[in-house]
Symmetry: C2
Subunit: 448 residues, 2 copies
């Protein structure tokens, strides 16, 4: 059993592991090295801070460093960067402002997170060009908006971050142009979601440039324009949100193996190829519940859950980190969009399935009950086994109902089982057949 | 294969079966006998008609008789009462205004529904005393409220109907007194729900009389007061909603067996003890997904689903009606309350389980995101197997998340599986750990 548990990285995975390990074993030394100053913060909340829905950046901090140190008795060292791991001697080398030292561990968790990808754009260093990769950057965007009251924004990337930032900047009266290289926004959500979200973004005054590759920004000190293949648009502020990449340099240097996705390979307990080195969160792979293959889905719940499980494992209660389904939900102005599992036909085929898909639109409430709205559900299943593979939902209300399908995926349920789940009905909440059930009913008809 | 499919009862189960059978086999004769004039109506919508949220009673009709007859080619006979079933000769005897005749069937569906229980109260026949058992009664309540503008209402029964009618009458400015014999309202939802709903009803100005048995009503022609053991309260209108009982007389006369609940016993295809006689909807039992025992939960989805499955079965595609979980959801003014599965410890023990239960309260959204609210989740599991047995939820938003647990029940999932379902998170929709996951996490801790 561990006497010293060292954690590299003080966000979701790291602090969940540290907290759980401490609760499980009060005699354990728990040391967390975080190279920055922020710990345990809700990165997903940053767009809402920029928008103004969240007043203080500090509101996004779930637990303060003081609480970790004083109430949870965790030796949390911010401003401390781990620069080397030696799995043979079970030590890490740590740099702080004033010194470099070694720290021994019995068990180590690598929770180094991910970084926003910086594409090779011209003018990325101009004032007013931002990625949204950490709390300081969120603060900087907020300050820039206040100080410069931009009239036009260029958002590069039509994923969550791009869409959430479109909403945030529009709320400040900024005229938003959103650039996406692919034919659709929210690519992992599939076309049925993209169609409705794109219509809605346009209704909200966002100008969409789909199938459009940005080459860079220009300006005199500060950004003034964004360049695409044959065009230039004015932009007083730019936000680049084209995805994240796992922070794996430190692990790689130490001989910790990466998996097929480029993130750190782990077993079902979050263990790397070194017995006493674990990895969790945005830097690590996890097992996909549908394909059984390693996948890299850097999202908050995955990180929290894996961290917590590893905290249990290192204190003597081996706990699987659990599979992931790539479940995600995003607010796009007045719409909610969600997805889970495998929607992409090609990917389903690669995993050995014969995918069949249906898309239906049904009311979120009883047809006669006020304020219901159209919820569009796409459901995918395997023709041979009937197993549910994935789903997406989009509408002004009800996108969270994707959880029903996420649970079905966790159980390996078939469409018949989903169709005969006894979901809740009353006129203010659902039609008699919840839209998820209607989709299952129609899909079952296709499979029979 | 059936040439003539006869259905007794033109509401959810009956019309679902008729419609499905017709679509599956265009050559089939499909005859529906409905003794009243209303078919395929949303009984659950009646309180919202009384409240004023739904303008016309006709809005509650899902499909009109004309559509069934003309577009769906179903021989729908309203005002026709089946008075006898002869399973030996496979005929039913039918009475209409002008004649009595026999109708032969190859397959028969008994979908006679349920009736509101009329307790042995004094003064039940007074003007202004209503049960809410059908559309005409909803119309009568609405008319009575308009004509008499009652100042005080007595609602007897703290189940769904009572609570929905409390909301409906309060919306008309009526001072509502709600009487419940048991110590709590919404008994099948458990105490955690009852506590919050009771507080909220009081906040909304409803006077609760719990543990209070009504003996009857008094008045001169019209109701003026309600009597309980040692007290009398003014009441200008009274609504009695103390439950429903299955309409089984016709079936019993024909030698169709009832089950332990008093409703018609059926097999997994909805078949009764007579091979060509099926039963579905509020008059029939269904198999409980947790206990495996027959249960009687007269709700709309059960009826629709069973009817549809029987429509498939009689046209040559044997289709199980599917199990039920007793899932229910109800709006109580600004609160939603839901339940699924087995919450009652005694009942869990009778089914062979060793129930362990936790109740947690967590925010419906990220803690820093506006307009989140407290969602209280109770989760019950079996100590030995870890199997999830049931859940309840209550709060201003999120009660529909009971569906996640309903899906878990359908799959026979354990708490570990529920806890590691990849549910959707983004700040506007949920905390990182959805409250259902938090409940599972805490319950898992209790089980370990």
């Amino acid at each position: 059993m561990s006497n010293t548990f060292v954690v590299i990285g003080g966000d979701a995975a790291g602090m969940s592991a540290a907290s759980k390990a401490r609760r499980a074993n009060p005699d354990l030394d728990v040391v967390v090295f975080e190279k920055g100053e922020w710990v345990s913060y809700a990165a997903c909340g940053m767009p809402y801070f920029v928008k103004g829905d969240v007043e203080e950046l500090d509101d996004l901090v779930t637990v303060t460093p003081e609480t970790f140190r004083e109430e949870r008795d965790i030796d949390l060292r911010t401003g401390h960067e781990v620069v080397d791991i030696d799995p043979e001697t079970q030590t890490v080398t740590v740099e702080s402002d004033d010194r470099t030292f070694e720290q021994a561990y019995d068990d180590l968790l690598v929770a180094t997170g991910a970084s926003a990808i910086e594409p090779p754009f011209d003018g990325l260093a101009l004032d007013g060009v931002f990625t949204i990769h950490d709390m300081d950057e969120a603060d900087a965007i907020d300050a820039y908006v206040s100080e410069h009251t931009p009239e036009t924004a260029a958002i590069v990337g039509g994923g969550y971050v791009g869409i959430e930032m479109a909403e945030a900047l529009s709320a400040h009266g900024v005229d938003v142009h959103l650039f996406e290289m692919l034919p659709h926004v929210l690519q992992p959500f599939g076309e049925a979601v993209a169609d409705r979200v794109e219509d809605h973004l346009r209704d909200q005054g966002v100008t969409l440039h789909l199938d459009t590759a940005v080459s860079g920004f220009a300006g005199d000190g500060a950004v003034e324009s964004v360049h695409v293949e044959n065009d230039t648009y004015a932009a007083d502020i730019a936000v680049v949100g084209v995805g994240v990449a796992p922070n794996t340099d430190l692990a790689e240097q130490a001989g910790i193996e990466l998996g097929p996705t480029g993130a750190i390979a782990t077993d079902e307990y979050g263990r790397t190829n070194h017995e006493h080195v674990y990895a969790a969160g945005d830097c690590a792979e996890a097992e996909h519940v549908v394909t059984g293959d390693p996948d890299h889905v850097p999202l908050a719940l995955t990180a929290n859950r894996a961290g917590r499980a590893i905290g249990q494992t290192v204190t003597g209660s081996p706990t699987p980190v659990g599979p992931i389904a790539g479940t995600a939900i995003v607010k796009a102005f007045e719409l909610g969009a969600s997805r889970t599992g495998i929607l992409d036909e090609q990917r389903a085929r690669e995993a050995g399935y014969d995918p069949v898909s249906v898309t239906i639109t049904a009311s979120s409430r009883a047809h006669y009950y006020p304020d219901g709205s159209d919820l569009t559900v796409t459901l995918v299943a395997d023709r041979t086994s009937g197993r549910v593979l994935g789903a997406s939902l989009v509408g002004p209300e009800g996108a969270k109902r994707v959880d029903t399908v996420a649970m079905a995926l966790r159980s390996g349920a078939t469409v018949s089982e989903l169709q005969t789940a006894d979901l809740a009905y009353a006129p203010p909440f659902s039609p008699v057949w919840d839209p998820v059930l209607t989709a299952a009913k129609v899909l079952k008809g296709e499979l029979d």
